[in-house]
Amino acid sequence: MKRKTDKSMDDGMSIIVKVAAYVLAVPITILGLYIILHGHLTPGGGFPGGAVIATLTVLFLVAAGKEKAKALKRDMISFAGGVGLVLFAFFGFIGTGTTFFFNALANSGSLFGMRIPFGVNPGYMWTAGVIPPMNMAVGLEVAASLSVIALVMFVYTMEDER
């Protein structure tokens, strides 16, 4: 079946949309990274942050169109997702000396191992043990997975051969 929109979407939307998308890319990335990195201090974490970063891909797909979208390397993005999950599992395995998923870094004095004053405090970045690294790993994975899903669906629905 042939649809009319297919051809017009090949090169994406107008220049105004493209420029707006590129301008928006910076604050979106910063917001996503902020949400991921401060997951242990403020509401947020790997999942919402990763989803925010994945909106970048969606924005790019909509603005740049099918031809540019095909140039994105799907395998590399899946690869990044796999790396994120392996890292996540690795941080789970760190605790295997005691138990699987034991938070081995917390209060240890090493990286992310700063002790925190209990109760209400202003929030310190280098605390919470394995939670911030896990947040980053999950953020990478979620961003990659959602991007792959959006990319594959976009390319598939835009194809009109068949």
């Binding site: 395998d75 899946s78 690869f79 997702g81 796999g82 790396v83 999950l85 392996v86 599992a89 789970g92 395995f93 605790g95 295997t96 005691t98 138990t99 699987f100 998923f101 034991f102 938070n103």
Partner: protein, 517 residues
């Protein structure tokens, strides 16, 4: 080293296939061979770990593992469980062994069966994830984890059912499967939410210990039983089974049988461990028995007129699920009655559980044999097949072993478990036993028809060039066939060392709760 592995085995059997699947995008860059080797090796590692764990658990040493606690056995730091707890008792180990063994064989079979260019690495990734989902479902002791594993299982199986995505039917079957299983999983989540709202607990044992069996608990019980019965393909919701098993690639169909049995395990776990005697077991047991009878009978009657070899087998899979529900349902119905339980209840349950392992083996063998036929001839229409025994004698023999076993002929394993079910159910209610036997005869008739139309008769000209299946396929089928024979010849040993401890563990509600609390 061994002690360390054994101590951490419960989370490792879940994490191993999971991590292997995560690493797949990296391994796939090394080529298709590396993907296959990686998948097979990690499944073999999982299998050996499960056997190691299972041997320990079966010798009366259930493992309880609190994830992330200061020591693995610290389940209740403040008098109640706060972390996810993996509890592997004999029943879980029994199911885990079935899942791991079939996963290895299925993977071995797929090495040569799956020829589609591209998407191979995804196929093995999803196979590994499916194994992880099953392992988790049978090992976890936490209601919410159960939901998560169930979803992992259904998403990965849904994707695998649609492996041949260019055919519209397979994506349709996958869609139907996904709708049914996600509604089922949502019901489990709702039940978990109801329990959480009442008791502020998510651990199965902790909920079981606090259970008051008020109205909300009954709602949760109905939701859980409905959800798991839906997922294991009991009758009112059996329509997805035939589509899903029929449209999936043959090794995936064989694996989906085990996936349904993992849901069956969850059903038994909920009925026996979470609720136990406190629930109106007589009503629950009769509900399971009636469900089982309907499943058994409707499944077999729908199987007889089928023309598609895999759809036919799918309906038989539905029908065989009925036997397990019947056996365990009878035990549940007499759970409150110690005399009846001792005289035939336990035997009924052992028969049902024995049938679980037998079903996984012979149904797997049959699906794999059907896969071999499809692999070589390219068709699954029984009217077009014929005379294959001349060209594929090995497949014919394996098919015959599976067919005899599913119809309960001695000396195959199906006979051993069905005999236990008939005997014990007869003492519960003779009519049920008669219907079960009738179903068995119908099954035999149906499979003889299939064997006759596919393998016997003159050699058809269009299949003159057909050869025997490649080695990886017949090796995996051969292993299954050998185990079917062994289980059929030595049923006492199997009951004593595998099924007996499993049924004891399922009955031992206090022990399961005591493992955590």
């Amino acid at each position: 080293m061994m002690a360390f592995l054994l101590q951490h085995a419960p989370p490792l059997v879940i994490a191993l296939p999971l991590v292997a699947a995560f690493a797949m995008p990296m391994v796939s860059r090394l080529g298709a061979r590396a993907v296959k080797a990686w998948a097979l090796l990690s499944l073999l590692a999982t299998e050996s770990l499960v056997l190691l764990l299972g041997r320990d658990v079966m010798s009366g040493n259930p493992h309880v593992y609190a994830l992330g606690a200061a020591i693995p056995s610290l389940t209740t730091p403040a008098g109640y469980p706060i972390r996810i707890i993996i509890e592997v008792d004999a029943m879980s180990a029994f199911m885990a062994m079935i899942c791991a063994s079939i996963s290895v064989l299925v993977c071995m079979y797929s090495l040569q069966y799956v020829r589609k260019k591209g998407g191979q690495d995804k196929y093995y990734t999803l196979l590994l994830l499916m194994t992880a989902g099953m392992m988790g479902l049978v090992c976890t002791g936490d209601l919410f984890s159960m939901f998560v594993f169930l979803e992992l299982l259904s998403v990965s199986s849904g994707a695998l059912i649609a492996f041949y995505a260019r055919r519209g039917e397979s994506s349709e079957a996958a869609f139907k499967f996904m709708v049914v299983s996600s509604i089922g999983a949502l019901m489990v989540l709702l039940a978990a939410g109801i329990f959480y709202g009442q008791y502020n607990m998510l651990n199965l044992a902790a909920i079981g210990g606090m259970l008051r069996f008020g109205f909300l608990d009954k709602v949760a019980l109905v939701l859980l039983v409905a959800a798991f019965a839906m997922k294991c393909g009991a009758v009112p919701m059996h329509m997805w089974v035939s589509d899903a098993y029929g449209e999936a690639p043959a090794p995936v169909s064989a694996f989906l049988v085990v996936a349904s049995q993992a849901s069956l395990y969850a059903l038994f776990r909920v009925c026996f461990t979470l609720f136990g005697v406190a629930a109106a077991t007589e009503i629950m047991g009769w509900a399971l028995v009636v469900l089982g009878m309907l499943t058994m009978f409707i499944g077999v009657t729908m199987a007889i007129p089928q023309k598609d070899i895999k759809r036919l087998m799918s309906y038989h899979a539905v029908s065989q699920t009925g036997y397990m529900l019947l056996g365990v349902g009878v035990c549940l119905a007499v759970l409150g009655n110690a005399a009846a339980l001792g005289s035939f209840g336990i035997t009924a349950m052992q028969g049902g559980l024995f049938h679980v392992v037998n079903h996984a083996m012979y149904k797997g063998l049959l699906f794999l044999a059907a896969g071999a036929i499809i692999y070589r001839t390219g068709t699954r229409d029984l009217n077009k097949l014929g005379g294959l025994a001349h060209r594929m004698p090995l497949t014919a023999i394996f098919f015959l072993i599976g067919a005899f076993s599913i119809s309960g002929l001695p000396p195959f394993n199906g006979f051993a478990s069905k005999l236990m079910i008939y005997e014990s159910v007869f003492r519960f209610n003779p009519l049920l036993s008669v219907i079960a036997m009738l179903t068995s005869i119908l099954t035999l008739a149906s499979f003889m028809k299939v064997f006759h139309s596919a393998f016997l008769g003159p050699e058809l000209p269009e299949y003159r060039g057909v050869r025997e299946m490649p080695p990886a396929m017949w090796i995996s089928m051969g292993i299954l066939a050998v185990f079917i024979m062994l289980f059929g010849i030595f049923p006492d040993l199997v009951v004593q060392y595998l099924v007996g401890p499993a049924s004891q563990a399922l009955l031992d509600r206090i022990g399961y709760l005591g493992g955590v609390l």
